[in-house]
C-alpha cells in the first residue's frame, strides 16, 4: 500500500514538474535558452550587439518577427533561396557565410533562446547559477601500489638504520673490551689514521656490508618497478600538432563549448576530432590570413585530411565510451582531461591507467537522479545502506564493463 502512496506522490510530483516546465516554456525559459545559446549559438553570435561571425542578436525581435527567425534558424539556406530580401542582404553582408541549420529547433527552443537574448540585454548579465560542481578531484597520480611500496621502503630504511646503529654500538663496545690494553700504546696514532682504520673495519664488517648491499638492492628494485609501472603511461604527453591550435584561445577565451567541435562527445564512443568543415564554420571569415589557418585551407584544397597527433591513447583492449561518462554520468570534460581551457597545447593530464579508472569508479556517485534506468538499482541500494550509490556498487568494477 505504501508503494501505491509513493507512486501517487511521485505521479503528482511528476505532473507538477511537467506543468511547471510547460508553463515556463510558454514565454521562453531564459535559463534553458542560455544553455542552448552557449552550446550552439555563441560561437558566431553575441547576445549583445557585438558582431562576431554573424550579427549580434540584441534587439533581434524588433528587427524580425518570430516566424521568420524560426524559419531562419531551422534552415537559413532555404530562406535565402526563397528570395527573401532581408535574408539575401544579410547573407551578402556577412561574406556569404551560411548559418548552420538547426532543423530540430521547435517553437519552444527558439523562444527560450530569444528569452535569454532579451534577458541578457535588459539587465546587466544575470549571475548564472554556478556551473555544476566538478566531481571530487582525482586522487593524485600516485597509484595504490606505489604508495604501498613507499611505506614499505621507508619502514625498511628506518629498521636498517636502527640495526646499523645498534651494530656499530656493539662493534665499538667489543673493540673497547678486547683492545683495552692497547689503548694506551696507540696514543701516537693520528686521528686520521684512526678514522681510516675504523673505516677499514667498517668495510670489513660483514653485517655492514650486507646492510649496504641490501639498501642498494631495495633502492634498485624500487627504481625498476617504478620504471616498469611507468611503461605505457604517458601522463604529461603533449605532442606538437601539425597546426598549432590553441585550446586556451578557443575553449578558454572564446568559451566555445567543447561539444561544438567534439561532436560525438555526448553521442558516442569517441568525442571525435573535428573535421575541417567545422573549423570553416568560423574561419571562413575570421583570421583567414593566419598561416596556421591557411594550413586548413591547404588541406581542403589538396583534399588531404589533417593528420593530428593523438594525445590520449587507450590500449585496444579497453573499451571506453565518452557518452556513458558525459551524457549519462554527467561528468565534465575537465574531470579527465584537466583544465583544457588553460592549455595552449593539449597534454594528457591523467594517467589513463586501469588503477586510475578503478579509483574513480570507487569514489564517484552514480548520476542516477532522474534517470529511470537506475530506479531499481537505487531502490535495492537504498534498502541496504545509507551511503550514496557508487559506480562500483552497480558493477562498475567488473571486467566485462570495459574488456570485451
Amino acid at each position: 500500500m505504501l508503494s501505491k502512496k509513493y507512486k501517487h506522490l511521485l505521479l503528482s510530483l511528476f505532473a507538477f514538474f511537467i506543468l511547471s516546465e510547460t508553463a515556463f516554456a510558454q514565454d521562453g525559459d531564459a535559463a534553458a535558452g542560455e544553455k542552448a545559446f552557449k552550446a550552439n549559438c555563441s560561437q558566431c553570435h553575441a547576445a549583445d550587439a557585438t558582431q562576431v561571425v554573424g550579427p549580434g542578436l540584441a534587439g533581434i525581435e524588433d528587427r524580425r518577427d518570430f516566424a521568420w527567425i524560426k524559419k531562419w534558424i531551422n534552415n537559413s539556406a532555404a530562406v535565402i533561396a526563397s528570395g527573401d530580401k532581408y535574408a539575401v542582404d544579410l547573407y551578402e553582408k556577412f561574406n556569404k557565410t551560411p548559418m548552420t541549420a538547426f532543423p530540430g529547433y521547435g517553437d519552444a527552443e527558439v523562444k527560450n533562446i530569444l528569452a535569454y537574448v532579451k534577458a541578457a540585454n535588459a539587465a546587466p548579465a544575470p549571475a548564472a547559477p554556478g556551473a555544476a560542481p566538478v566531481a571530487a578531484a582525482q586522487g593524485g597520480d600516485e597509484t595504490g601500489g606505489g604508495k604501498f611500496f613507499n611505506i614499505v621502503l621507508v619502514t625498511l630504511l628506518v629498521i636498517m638504520g636502527l640495526v646499523l646503529v645498534a651494530l656499530l654500538a656493539i662493534l665499538r663496545l667489543l673493540t673497547k673490551l678486547s683492545g683495552g690494553d692497547d689503548e694506551d700504546g696507540e696514543d701516537g696514532v693520528s686521528g686520521g689514521e684512526k678514522f681510516k682504520s675504523s673505516f677499514k673495519n667498517l668495510v670489513a664488517n660483514k653485517t655492514v656490508r650486507s646492510a649496504v648491499i641490501w639498501l642498494f638492492i631495495i633502492l634498485g628494485t624500487k627504481a625498476t618497478l617504478d620504471g616498469l609501472y611507468g611503461i605505457g603511461v604517458h601522463q604529461g604527453y603533449a605532442p606538437k600538432q601539425p597546426i598549432s591550435f590553441s585550446h586556451k584561445l578557443h575553449a578558454g577565451e572564446m568559451e566555445i563549448n567543447c561539444a561544438y567541435c567534439h561532436t560525438g562527445v555526448y553521442k558516442g564512443k569517441q568525442a571525435g576530432i573535428p573535421s575541417a568543415s567545422i573549423c570553416m564554420n568560423c574561419h571562413n571569415t575570421i583570421k583567414r590570413e593566419s598561416p596556421e589557418i591557411q594550413k586548413i585551407y591547404t588541406a581542403i584544397e589538396k583534399d588531404q585530411p589533417i593528420e593530428w597527433v593523438r594525445v590520449h591513447n587507450l590500449p585496444d583492449l579497453a573499451y571506453f565510451n565518452h557518452s556513458q561518462h558525459t551524457n549519462v554520468g554527467g561528468l565534465a570534460c575537465e574531470n579527465c582531461h584537466g583544465e583544457i581551457p588553460k592549455m595552449e597545447v593539449v597534454e594528457q593530464r591523467s594517467t589513463l591507467t586501469m588503477g586510475w579508472c578503478i579509483d574513480c569508479h570507487r569514489k564517484t556517485d552514480v548520476n542516477a537522479k532522474g534517470n529511470a534506468y537506475y530506479d531499481t538499482l537505487l531502490d535495492a541500494h537504498n534498502k541496504t545502506t545509507k551511503d550514496a550509490m557508487k559506480v562500483e556498487d552497480i558493477g562498475g568494477l567488473e571486467c566485462a564493463k570495459c574488456h570485451y
Partner: protein, 1026 residues
C-alpha cells in the same frame, strides 16, 4: 671356402659408396637439412639484438595519428554504427537485409524484419557475404587478355566489337532484379542479335515444367508450409537449400512450436522426409525414409497410388518400391486432406507431375500450394542453356557476355563451354575475379560486390526489394548493369535508371525514399489461388523406370557453399556441415553397410569412376545415407576461386552425359580405394550421446500430450537426508543479480541446424578462421557449435566395454537432434574457480566474463568447463602468414568489429553473450533515461535465427519474452544441460518433441529404468513393444 665375413649395407647408397655417404660417415646426424640450424653465435647475436630491440621499443610509444574527415558527412559519427536496408540477391538466393556500417564500412548483416518474405531471417551464406566484399583476391581493375586495362579502353573496344558481332548471348544465373532485366532489354534493343540465356546450377526446371504440364502454368507457386499439418519432402532439402529455405524454415518452425501448461499449444505438424543423403531437413523430420535416386520416381508413383487408393480412386501402374514409412505417410496425408503438402526437389518432370497429382488429389492446391503468388527464385531455362552450349560449340555465337556467371565450373556442360569459347569472336565476363570462365574470356569487366551496388529484386509477385550501396567501390569495379548500359551507348547512371524504373513501374506514386529506407516495398498480397490439374498421371507413371540396385552417385547442394560461387570465403569453408561436421572439403558419403560391402572405411580416399571420368575424394561414413549410394556435394573443386576456395573435387564431370545428369544423379559408379590413414577435418567426431540423458533431452508428441515433463531427465542427488534435487544443495553463495539477468532460451524443437547463428557470431565477434590443419587438431575457434547427435541401435543398458563401444555407433537411419552449444554462463561456473589469475569472473548481470588481457593461458578453465565451450588461441591468427585468411591482409581486416578485441595468441576466448551489444543497448536506454525494452538488445545468434529458436533477454524483466517462456515451461520442457552438477546456467533448453506415434524401443529402455517404480504399467507396455 666361402667368405664368412658377411657385409651388410645400410642402403643402396652405402653399397655404391655414394659421395654423401662417405662425407657423412663420421657424423651422427645429418644436420645439413635440419630446419633453422641456429648456431650458438647466431643465437647469442639474435638474443642480444632481441633484448636491445625490446628495450628500445619499450622506451617510447609510437606516435599515433588521428585523422578526421575533411568534411564530415552529416549522418556519420565516428563510433556510432549506421544501418542501411538493402537486398542480397545472388543466383536466386534472396534476403532483405540491414547492413551495419561503421565509419563507412559494412561489417555485419542483419535481417530486415519489415520483409514479408524473409521476415528478418538471414542464412549462413548471406551472413558470410560481407566477408566476400573484402576478398583481396578479387580483380582490382578491368582486364584484357589477362592484363590490366582501363575502363575507357575496354568500353571502346567492346562497343566496337559488339557493333560488328552477330548473335550475342548474355549468360546469367537467375536475375531477380526487374530493373536489371530492363537494362538487358535495352541492351537487346540496341543489339537485336542479342539474347539473354539464364541457367541455374541447381535449377528447378523439372518443377516448372511439371507445373506447366499439370496446371498449364510454368511457375513456381508459393508453398505454405505454415498451413500444412502433414508435410512430405521427397529429396527436397526445403529448410536448407531448396528454392527459398529462409521462408520455408520459418514456416516450418511455425508449425513445430509447442508450449507447456494448461493453455499451451500442443498441436504440431508431422514431417516426413524421403531422401538419399542426410540433409538438415531430413534430420529435422519426424519420420525419415531412405530412397535411392533411382527409386525417387517409383516412390512418388507408389505414394500417389497409396494416397489415391485411400481416397477411393484407382491407382496407376508403376514399379513397386517398399520404402519404410510410406504407408504411414499416405495414411497421414489423407487424414490431413487440404492441409498437407508434398514437395519434391527432383528435376524429373514425371516426379513433379506425380507430386502435383498427390497434392491435387489431397485438395492442397490453392491451400498449401498457392498459385496466386508465384515465386521467381529459379528462372533458369535448361533447354535454352543447352541450346546455347550447342551453338557455342558449333561456332554460331558471335559474342558472349557472362553476366556474373561461371558456367565453365558450375554447369554440367562446363567443359564444352570452355571448348566452345575459343570459337567466339568476343567473350566478356563480368565476374569479380578471373574464375574458371572469366579466365577464358578476352575481357573481364569486374562487377562490384552487391554491397557496393544499386539494384532491386522481385523474389515473389508483389514483393519488391531495393538494394543500395553501403560503401563506395573499393577497387576499380563497375556493376554489370552499368557496363551493359555503357556498351549499349545509353546513359550509364544506373541509380537514376533504377529510380525512374521504380517510379514508373513499381511505386505508383509512393515514396522512393520510404522504399529505400525500408528496403522493401510490398503490395497487398494476392488471394491464394489454385489451378486445375490437367496432366495425365498414368502417362507420367508409365515413364517411371524401375529402381536399380547398383551403386548410384547423388550430387547435392551443401548448405554452406551452395553452388560454389562464394567458395573463396573462409568463413563458409570452415563452417562445419551441419550433418557431417566436415570442413574445408567435400566427401564421398557412404552408409556403413555400403562401405563395409565395398571394403572401405572412414580415413580412406576413394576414386569414383563413371564411364571414363573419375574424381578422388575422402570417404565419409554417413549414418542415414541410403544403401548403395554415394553422395557428393557440388560447389567444391574450384580451381580459380582463390586461396581459400580451391579445395575439394567437382563431381559434375562424373554426371557427364548421363540421362539423369540434370537430376544430379547417375548409376554405374565404380569405387576404388586409393589410400588410407587420412583424417577428415571434422569438428565433431562423436556421433551419439551414448544414453546420457542429461545432455540432450527429447520426447515424442504422444508422450508430451500426457505429461508436460515428458522426456525430461531430472537427476537426484543422494544425501544423508535422502534424495534431493541438485539445485537444493549447494556449497556456493551464488551471485546477486539486482539489475539484469541476461539469459537465453533455445528451443530444440525448432532448431534445424541451419548454422546461421554460427556465422553471425563469427562476424560479430571477430572469430578467427584457423584452417583445415588446425580443425583436424580440434582447434577451431567458433563460439557456437551445433552439436549434432544421432540415435543408436545399441542397448543403452549394457554397461560393458563392448556395450559402450556399440553405443558409439549411430543407427543405419538414425534420428538426429541438433543442439546449439555456447558458453552457458553458469552461475556457479567451474571455470571461474580454477583460474589462477582471475581472468574469468562473474558479473552482476549473470554473465561469465572473459578478460583476455588478464589471461595467461593456463587453460585450466577449458579443462574444467563441463560444456567444453572455451577456445584457446594456439596461435596469433591475425597478421600471420600461416593463417592466410581474411585477418592476414589489410582489406580482410576491414570486416572486423571495432567494438570487439581481436584476441592474441595464448589466451582463452568464448561466447560473451555479445556483451558489447548488451552494453550498447543499456547505454542507449540510459541516455533516454529509461529501462531497456525487451527485444531491443539481441545477441548475434538470437537476431539471426530464421526459425526463431533462440530467445535472448533479461530474466529479471517479467515482461520479457524469455521470462514468459520460462514461466510457461518451468514445469514443462525447460531444462538446464547437466543439471546434476549444479552449475546453474543462464542458458535454458526446451525439450525436443518429435511428432511420432510410438516410442522407439531403445529410447524407452533407458527411460524405463527410472520410471519403473512410478509407472509399472507403462513399463509393461514398452516391453510389449520391444
Amino acid at each position: 671356402m666361402e667368405n664368412t665375413k658377411k657385409r651388410y649395407w645400410k642402403g643402396i647408397e652405402e653399397l655404391k659408396n655414394d659421395i654423401n655417404v662417405v662425407k657423412n660417415a663420421e657424423r651422427e646426424f645429418n644436420l645439413d637439412d635440419v630446419d633453422g640450424g641456429t648456431h650458438r653465435r647466431d643465437f647469442l647475436k639474435m638474443l642480444g639484438f632481441g633484448v636491445a630491440a625490446v628495450s628500445l621499443a619499450a622506451c617510447d610509444a609510437p606516435v599515433r595519428k588521428t585523422i578526421p574527415y575533411l568534411n564530415k558527412p552529416e549522418d556519420v559519427e565516428p563510433g556510432i554504427p549506421n544501418y542501411y536496408a538493402t537486398t542480397y540477391a545472388s543466383g536466386g538466393d534472396y534476403a532483405s537485409i540491414l547492413v551495419k556500417t561503421r565509419e563507412g564500412r559494412p561489417i555485419k548483416i542483419e535481417g530486415n524484419k519489415l520483409s514479408g518474405v524473409t521476415k528478418g531471417g538471414v542464412s549462413a551464406r548471406i551472413h558470410a557475404s560481407v566477408l566476400s566484399l573484402y576478398d583481396n583476391e578479387k580483380l582490382k581493375e578491368p582486364q584484357k587478355g589477362g592484363k590490366a586495362t582501363t575502363w575507357a579502353k575496354l568500353d571502346q573496344e567492346i562497343a566496337a566489337s559488339l557493333s560488328k558481332a552477330s548473335s550475342i548471348r548474355i549468360v546469367s544465373n537467375t536475375i531477380l532484379s526487374p530493373s536489371a532485366k530492363s537494362v538487358i532489354a535495352d541492351f537487346i534493343a540496341k543489339y537485336p542479335s542479342a539474347k539473354h540465356v539464364a541457367y541455374d546450377t541447381n535449377g528447378a526446371d523439372g518443377l516448372i515444367e511439371g507445373n506447366l504440364k499439370s496446371f498449364g502454368k510454368a511457375v513456381i507457386p508459393s508453398y505454405r508450409f505454415d498451413k500444412a499439418k502433414v508435410m512430405v519432402g521427397i529429396n527436397c532439402d526445403f529448410t536448407g537449400t531448396w528454392i527459398s529455405p529462409l521462408e520455408y524454415s520459418n514456416q516450418w518452425a511455425e508449425t513445430r512450436k509447442v508450449s507447456s501448461g494448461k493453455h499451451g499449444s500442443k498441436t504440431m505438424s508431422r514431417h516426413y522426409q524421403f531422401e538419399t543423403g542426410m540433409t538438415v531437413t531430413g534430420a529435422a523430420a519426424d519420420y525419415r525414409g531412405m530412397i535411392k535416386p533411382s527409386e525417387e520416381a517409383a516412390f512418388a508413383a507408389n505414394l500417389y497410388n497409396k494416397v489415391i487408393t485411400l481416397l477411393g480412386g484407382s491407382p496407376v501402374s508403376a514399379p513397386k518400391v517398399d520404402t519404410q514409412y510410406i504407408d504411414k505417410c499416405a495414411k497421414d496425408l489423407v487424414a490431413a486432406k487440404g492441409a498437407s503438402l508434398v514437395v519434391s526437389g527432383s528435376n524429373d518432370v514425371n516426379v513433379q507431375v506425380l507430386v502435383n497429382a498427390i497434392n491435387n488429389a489431397l485438395g492442397n492446391i490453392g491451400n498449401t500450394v498457392d498459385f496466386g503468388t508465384p515465386v521467381y527464385y529459379r528462372q533458369g531455362n535448361a533447354a535454352e542453356m543447352n541450346q546455347f552450349v550447342t551453338e557455342l560449340k558449333s561456332g554460331q555465337v558471335g559474342a558472349v557476355i557472362f553476366y556474373e556467371s561461371n558456367p565453365v565450373f558450375d554447369h554440367l556442360r562446363g567443359a564444352e563451354i570452355a571448348e566452345g569459347l575459343k570459337k567466339t569472336t568476343l567473350s566478356i565476363s563480368t565476374a569479380d575475379r578471373a574464375d574458371e570462365t572469366a579466365k577464358l574470356c578476352q575481357y573481364i569487366a569486374p562487377a562490384s560486390h552487391y554491397l557496393e551496388s544499386w539494384g532491386d529484386a522481385m523474389p515473389k509477385a508483389g514483393f519488391y526489394s531495393l538494394q543500395q550501396p553501403t560503401i563506395s567501390t573499393i577497387y576499380s569495379t563497375r556493376q554489370t548493369e552499368v557496363s551493359l548500359l555503357t556498351w549499349a551507348g545509353a546513359n550509364a547512371d544506373y541509380q537514376a535508371y533504377l529510380k525512374s524504373f521504380w517510379s514508373k513501374n513499381i511505386l505508383t506514386g509512393k515514396s522512393w525514399i520510404q522504399a529505400l529506407h525500408d528496403g522493401v516495398y510490398e503490395v497487398a498480397p494476392a488471394v491464394p489461388a489454385g489451378a486445375s490439374f490437367t496432366a495425365n498421371v498414368a502417362e507420367a507413371a508409365a515413364s517411371v523406370a524401375a529402381p536399380k540396385t547398383d551403386l548410384e552417385l547423388s550430387v547435392f547442394e551443401s548448405l554452406a557453399l551452395g553452388t560454389g560461387a562464394y567458395a573463396n570465403n573462409p568463413w563458409l569453408q570452415e563452417l562445419p556441415d551441419p550433418i557431417s561436421k566436415v570442413t574445408w572439403e567435400n566427401t564421398a558419403a557412404f552408409s556403413q553397410k555400403t562401405a563395409k560391402d565395398l571394403g572401405i572405411a572412414q580415413g580412406d580416399w576413394v576414386k569414383l569412376t563413371v564411364g571414363d571420368k573419375s574424381i578422388e575424394l575422402p570417404v565419409l561414413i554417413q549414418p542415414g545415407q541410403a544403401h548403395s549410394t554415394v553422395s557428393v556435394a557440388m560447389g567444391y573443386g574450384r580451381t580459380d576461386a582463390g586461396k581459400a576456395g580451391n579445395v575439394g573435387s567437382n563431381p559434375f564431370p562424373l554426371l557427364g552425359s548421363s540421362k539423369t545428369a540434370s537430376n544430379f544423379w547417375t548409376g554405374g559408379v565404380k569405387v576404388e580405394k586409393t589410400k588410407d590413414g587420412y583424417t577428415l577435418a571434422q569438428t565433431q567426431t562423436h556421433e551419439t550421446v551414448m544414453g546420457r540423458e542429461a545432455v540432450v533431452q527429447e520426447t515424442i508428441l504422444s508422450e508430451y500430450l500426457k505429461n508436460d515433463k515428458a522426456g525430461r531427465y531430472e537427476p537426484m542427488i543422494a544425501t544423508s537426508e535422502g534424495l534431493k534435487k541438485p539445485y537444493s544443495i549447494t556449497l556456493w553463495n551464488g551471485h546477486e543479480k539486482k539489475n539484469h539477468s541476461w539469459g537465453m532460451v533455445i528451443d530444440l524443437n525448432t532448431c534445424n541446424g541451419c548454422s546461421a547463428c554460427l556465422i553471425s557470431c563469427q562476424a560479430e565477434n571477430n572469430v578467427a578462421v584457423v584452417g583445415k590443419k588446425e580443425v583436424v587438431r580440434a582447434r577451431e575457434m567458433h563460439w557456437i557449435r551445433l552439436d549434432r547427435y544421432y540415435s543408436t541401435d545399441a542397448d543403452l543398458d549394457s554397461r560393458t566395454f563392448s556395450g559402450y563401444k556399440a553405443m558409439e555407433v549411430a543407427s543405419e537411419n538414425p534420428e538426429v537432434i541438433f543442439q546449439p552449444m555456447m558458453c552457458q554462463h553458469c552461475s556457479n561456473a567451474p571455470c571461474e574457480t580454477v583460474c589462477p589469475v582471475l581472468a574469468t569472473t562473474h558479473s552482476s548481470e549473470g554473465l561469465n566474463q572473459m578478460t583476455y588481457n588478464r589471461c595467461v593461458g593456463t587453460r585450466y578453465c577449458a579443462n574444467n568447463c563441463p560444456y567444453k565451450v572455451r577456445r584457446f588461441n594456439w596461435f596469433k591468427y591475425f597478421e600471420n602468414d600461416n593463417f592466410d585468411y581474411n585477418m592476414n591482409n589489410e582489406l580482410g581486416r576491414m570486416v572486423l568489429n571495432p567494438d570487439v578485441t581481436v584476441r592474441s595468441r595464448g589466451v582463452i576466448e568464448k561466447c560473451s553473450m555479445c556483451v558489447q551489444r548488451i552494453q550498447a543497448g543499456k547505454l542507449a536506454a540510459k541516455k533516454e533515461k529509461r529501462r531497456p525494452v525487451d527485444g531491443e538488445i539481441e545477441t548475434a545468434c538470437s537476431s539471426s535465427c530464421p526459425s526463431g529458436s533462440i530467445i535472448f533477454g533479461d530474466m529479471l524483466d517479467p515482461e520479457s519474452r524469455i521470462s514468459k517462456v520460462l514461466e510457461q515451461e518451468k514445469e514443462g520442457r525447460a531444462f538446464h544441460m547437466l543439471e546434476e552438477i549444479n552449475v546453474r546456467p543462464q542458458v535454458t533448453y526446451l525439450v525436443k518433441v518429435k511428432n511420432k506415434d510410438e516410442i522407439v524401443a531403445k529410447r524407452s529402455k533407458a527411460g524405463d529404468k527410472k520410471k519403473h517404480a512410478a509407472e509399472p504399467e507403462h513399463a509393461a507396455e514398452h516391453k510389449a513393444h520391444s
